[in-house]
Symmetry: C2
Subunit: 458 residues, 2 copies
Amino acid sequence: MKENKIPYKTYLDESEIPTKWYNVRADMKNKPAPLLNPATLKPMTAEELSPVFCDELIAQELNNTDAYIDIPEEIQDFYKMYRPSPLIRAYFLEKALDTPAKIYYKFEGNNTSGSHKLNSAIAQAYYAKKQGLKGVTTETGAGQWGTALSMACSYFGLDCKVYMVKVSYEQKPFRREVMRTYGASVTPSPSMTTEIGRKILEAHPGTTGSLGCAISEAVEVATHTEGYRYVLGSVLNQVLLHQSIIGLECKTAFDKLGVKPDIIIGCAGGGSNLGGLISPFMGEKLRGEADYRFIAVEPASCPSFTRGKYAYDFCDTGMVCPLAKMYTLGSGFIPSANHAGGLRYHGMSSILSQLYDDGLMEATSVEQTAVFEAAEKFARVEGILPAPESSHAIRVAIDEALKCKETGEEKTILFGLTGTGYFDMVAYEKFNDGVMTDYIPTDEDLAKGFAGLPEVNL
Amino acid sequence: MKENKIPYKTYLDESEIPTKWYNVRADMKNKPAPLLNPATLKPMTAEELSPVFCDELIAQELNNTDAYIDIPEEIQDFYKMYRPSPLIRAYFLEKALDTPAKIYYKFEGNNTSGSHKLNSAIAQAYYAKKQGLKGVTTETGAGQWGTALSMACSYFGLDCKVYMVKVSYEQKPFRREVMRTYGASVTPSPSMTTEIGRKILEAHPGTTGSLGCAISEAVEVATHTEGYRYVLGSVLNQVLLHQSIIGLECKTAFDKLGVKPDIIIGCAGGGSNLGGLISPFMGEKLRGEADYRFIAVEPASCPSFTRGKYAYDFCDTGMVCPLAKMYTLGSGFIPSANHAGGLRYHGMSSILSQLYDDGLMEATSVEQTAVFEAAEKFARVEGILPAPESSHAIRVAIDEALKCKETGEEKTILFGLTGTGYFDMVAYEKFNDGVMTDYIPTDEDLAKGFAGLPEVNL
């Protein structure tokens, strides 16, 4: 096809895998707002957070100053199991689109968890083990995070209790089996195993669950069980820190190739992938060393950035977690049942929320049939069946490349391909059968979510 | 873990991907027996084969003399979509086994088809397109071959009709959806769309199908439809030729690392992966340049090598295909319904059969609960959830490594990890629930299969 140029896939040498995570907060003029204690509405101290999170992870959560944090050797070893991930030049897609744009994607799906989530799961499991804990609890929606955590816990011999949103538990039995194969216990949420679960089931007997509710259950179990802590796969500052390995590898690969991206695109649910992908590039922008366009892509059915409010909100339905300031639809907001992919969290990373509010990045929303059209096109030419979540970024990357075709501009586009869609074939089947529908919440729908926002006057 | 030594993963540069396939037949003193015309019992000519197969593939099928065959540039391009595949040093597994053995595996599962099958699918689709055909037909059991072929056909804009063994079609709806996403039509076999299908359904109304029966349907459709040919994912000489890319990449990577394997292990159903993996190493052995132990691993429930007969047999249930001389259990043999993985074909590649008969390789059989124990162990330490088929090789690699532990020998073991198990979670679930059972056919079971062997007196 195109010879002697950029290779199709660029893998770093193992010796080039980053040995430090990058903490973008160090370079932010406006720091993300702190977590608040829901009882006192004052910033949570490390001590207050310690019944919920591991100590070292709390330190990372609160660290707004150190730009680089060492990756412990044990985690570096584990990273070598599936990293470096390839930076891929999308020659086949470029040809299919007949665009002058140069498209690249960082592919994080070549591991059994099927996504980038493993980058943070292994870090969180490591610190839990180091602290001498017996196990961790968590929630999972689409199942990627739960799978990643069960793999990480199996590696360190930690117990892993996963609360899986009931509708996913029933629709994705195979995800559940992967977690069980890695030794995790998986409970459909809401369940009778927790007080909050019993309360929710009493109030809403037929409920199929939500992420916010599963979080509440996982936190309750962690804080009521000796030797356990709660871990979370997105939203938190620590998670974005761990995920910076995606962007750091990207940056190193681009530097080796002598390429500089113009536009960087990522899907955004809680922000873990997007934050990790853009971090080092955003650092350059914050330090005035380079400029990039950053685009967050979210589903039109759960539009935290594009239609949410920037406010303090609860992170979970049970309101047992600290409050976070973020773009949010309200902790009571649940996307329509026709929504296929993940990216269904009501809020958004505080770091990304601050960057967005400061005008340092853009956001856009896309509808799901358009997303699956992009996914199918991509699968057929690039050979990778993408996760519905990742396909949000593909959609916008294709749209930007088509704009280049109109204008003749040779822009360099990078997007994050966070994972594979092997466990999402029910959604693909709907698309293949032509029965997939779109949903955009009305202003009235959103108003209901906003009505539940807590009053916080700092 | 272990520093400054062999990396965890060795990727060749794109420029090092082989540009020629290696044809092991050129170096075999005893050539594999030719395909016979079932009507005349004489070797099939190219002309006789042309209603079934593409012309160029027939030439490859009959070519016993050229050691190297050029890989067309279009196929080389496609290979760059997912190749080179990594050669992985199993440091984590070695540590878990506490063995002095050095274990390597060639991982072919990092592509959406989930296995090595894509290596031959793209070649067969290319030659079909080059010949100006409209489409191809095939059968699929576990679904890996059908998925690979649908990806390849989508790439070249060819129509793809897949006959999927009915029991798989029903148990693996997600495999079916992947094929549909790539534009293939998928029909459960036996079906009413063919004469042979209708006959079989009449004789066995409740049948859930078999590979041999699906082959008959696919061949019938190919030979009765203008512009179509039949393609096959294993067994044939041409397939082993295409799959030699696995072994060639392996050999190049080992040479770069300065490593020579002592034992090479692969699972064996029809022989495509094993044949491809060992070809260049076997070539060295045949030419007296090096020595290796080769071990074919098959399921105890379908033991073609270890309990089969070396004889001419039908390749399909409908007896419409040419006869092949191979280790076979008889075309009427169907493994017990409790058998989880693929590797359920009654026969075996003619090339491998001849090599085995000449004492140039070994074979062993393993039971499926032991296979899944190995699979789970491997998944937990190496982070890759293996396909049940591949796990047969893992089982024997682990057993050989444990023998090294006893003897203290530092042998170098290579095995082929042909694919991932994401679409095999029903089998994993059985294993996780402790309800998986083993099955070994009795001599009486086998005698029934042997009774159907044709009489061929050459």
